[in-house]
Symmetry: C2
Subunit: 406 residues, 2 copies
């Protein structure tokens, strides 16, 4: 029986979480998976992420993904008593995180100077679309805007077609992960020095971290990194791409790659696809020759892959030590029992949505990912949080609720 | 003058870094940016990443990107004296990280049981392509294989075309970031409990963390998440996509998005593009109406964007509070002086490659990203590391070198 070996990493760490949508929530959720007490502070209408896309009963699936293992309280920050309550919580918090539109947290009266003035040891962390000093520092941003302005779109898509948005929400979750690393670094230092910190990350800036291969490609050629279709940026080592498999559905492809670092890959591949006759053939014997004959090579491999399912092709080619990967879709991943058996996907029991299978924190601690607890209902923890953090009685909380402060 | 406020976060933390290529090195580099003493242990031939793609004098640009702020030593682990040396270093290390092919670290005699036996308080961390218990656990993986098998390709590309590989190396760096968070969580706990840890992450599993929006889309429709072209997964709120700009180059597009959460975006957009006449027009007045007339809407916006550069279009639309983002390429980002002024890109002076401008750790600590120090030359720190960690004299190190142990 796996135990929650991750969940005591951040035991006792209190996070005051004023984030919404995904970039901020993915950061605080990572801290929650590792055992921090993350209290999501929402205005009485709730994080707009609660209604992003379809909502199963109460909150959107989207919201359930990015707010697991947290608690939720409602606070009306425009009411002076609500603001005072939040400032009391600041005195008890280790981390404060927000990702409002530019200038909004300052207008609420909770800018870095105010919060750090109340609690100098706090880690105050912010996500914005564009960095302070950028020409666009006051612009709104969402995942796709960060991806447009951060190069990830310009290097994604067909070689001769328009840019495409990568499917993964790197603009949001990608940014959130870099902030989580930085928060943890500052928390670690604080155990030794007591020092607080002011952390800021811009989504556009964060994109550069994920696209450094494109900057390396630019340095090699002196030209903007192009789109690489289904291959890797700067890959010049055919075969490297996807090949069609039976029965020919939209995702029936297998990625096949022979590494430059391992010249055995190519003859092994020829052997496993029944083309031993081509081993040593000078048209394909070297990397340079394969570059010159790439269309023929792709045709040779496709001729074999078309007669196999992507799963079989991956298994057969992978078994001889050549990198191969089936292009799997969400349905195939959800249907693969191995993920649930290994705890990489877990089924939560949400009080309104019912059972829901979702990806867990994928890093295993002593063999197991941390268990998922369902995202909280709006204000679902008003009483227990205000009691835990501030020692408030049930009557005091009830009175704040009656007065619409929370 | 900005000070390196990030660089003392992990002061005194020693990382024994047996990683290569990108997934592992991006993780240890993040720790190095925050001030850990990361010692890259390479066999005398060096990390194969040193020759991935073009090499400016000595090491590839690719290598410089993922190995900044580290030190390098060479150790021949197949020599019993080399292995003994590494085991001595294990006694001084806080973190041990490797991303060799499945089974390789155990064959070297440095499996988790051995290393944790020597130093029970160590954080022992591993990256593999596929998870223990997966049908593919012994398969090789590279970034593109993880992206094929982890759904990111199936949701990227033209709506009616084949899957595409996202340009960003989420399979590598995306995995590395999740491991860095987990290492830091375990290090934080260790300050309190002294407990060591065994962390493992599979690149395929890590992809699910970045594609949770696709799983939310699947939950809404009951069907595999489709490719969304230039839009966002599950976006049903036109306009949401890229629009052509002058002068019509490969990346001359601007992303424009009107948020469902903010109904003012649409009339603001119409006004700024000179189509106030359409405000209130029932063909476009509601989200449902805009979905029904998406091609017309896209034509109306394109008619305006075609007469503007992407930078102007972004500035004009963004200024009225509507999300807009120019599709920028690596050349445009490298040429924008704001990144260097803000420290988001920094120019290193590499002893062999000379000056090289590259992206820094993008999170600002008290206003500044941490400074970049150039990636080390192969074995460039043999003497100082073995002196710092093990108290060896110059003569002792020289003798190991003469015997080809290091």
């Amino acid at each position: 029986m796996p135990t929650d070996d991750a969940g005591n990493c951040l035991e006792g760490v209190r996070v005051l979480d004023l984030t919404q949508f995904e970039a901020g929530p993915s950061c605080t959720e990572a801290l929650a998976f590792l055992g921090a007490d993350v209290v999501k502070v929402e205005n009485p209408k709730g994080d707009p992420g609660r209604s992003s896309g379809g909502a199963p009963g109460a909150d959107a699936w989207y919201f359930l993904q990015y707010n697991a293992n947290k608690r939720s309280i409602t606070v009306n920050l425009k009411d002076p008593r609500g603001l005072a309550l939040l400032k009391d919580m600041v005195t008890k918090a280790d981390v404060f995180i927000e990702n409002y539109a530019p200038g909004a947290i300052e207008r609420l009266g909770l800018g870095a100077d105010v919060v750090r003035g109340i609690n100098p040891a706090i880690i105050y962390a912010q996500v914005k679309g564009f960095g302070t000093g950028s020409p666009y520092e006051n612009n709104l941003a969402f995942d796709m805007i960060a991806q447009a302005c951060g190069d990830t779109m310009s290097v994604t898509g067909p070689k001769d077609g328009p840019p495409m948005k990568p499917g993964p929400s790197i603009g949001d979750t990608g940014t959130g992960m870099l902030l989580a690393i930085s928060v943890l670094g500052a928390l670690f230092r604080r155990t030794r020095t007591g020092q607080g910190e002011h952390l800021q990350v811009a989504m556009q800036d964060a994109m550069l971290h994920y696209i450094r291969g494109a900057f390396a490609a630019h340095a090699r050629t002196g030209k903007p990194a192009p789109r690489a279709g289904s291959a890797s940026l700067g890959a010049t080592n055919p075969p490297c791409g996807i090949f069609p498999c039976k029965p020919g559905g939209a995702n029936d492809y297998v990625f096949v790659y022979t590494s430059r670092g391992n010249p055995e890959h190519w003859p092994r591949l020829l052997k496993v696809i029944g083309r031993e006759d081509l081993i040593g053939d000078e048209r394909y014997a070297t990397r340079e020759a394969r570059i010159a004959h790439e269309p023929e090579i792709n045709a040779i491999i496709s001729e074999w892959t078309r007669h196999h399912t992507k799963q079989d092709a991956m298994a057969i080619i992978g078994a001889v030590g050549v990198p191969a990967g089936a292009v799997l879709d969400t349905g195939e991943l959800l249907g693969d029992p191995s993920f649930e058996a290994r705890g990489i996907m877990q089924t939560i029991q949400h009080p309104k949505a019912g059972p829901y299978k979702m990806p867990a924190w994928p890093v295993r601690f002593s063999g197991s990912p941390p268990p998922i607890r369902p995202a909280p209902l709006l204000g679902g923890n008003n009483e227990d949080v205000l009691n835990d953090w501030l020692g408030m009685s049930r009557d005091e909380v009830g009175s704040l609720q009656a007065d619409k402060v929370i």
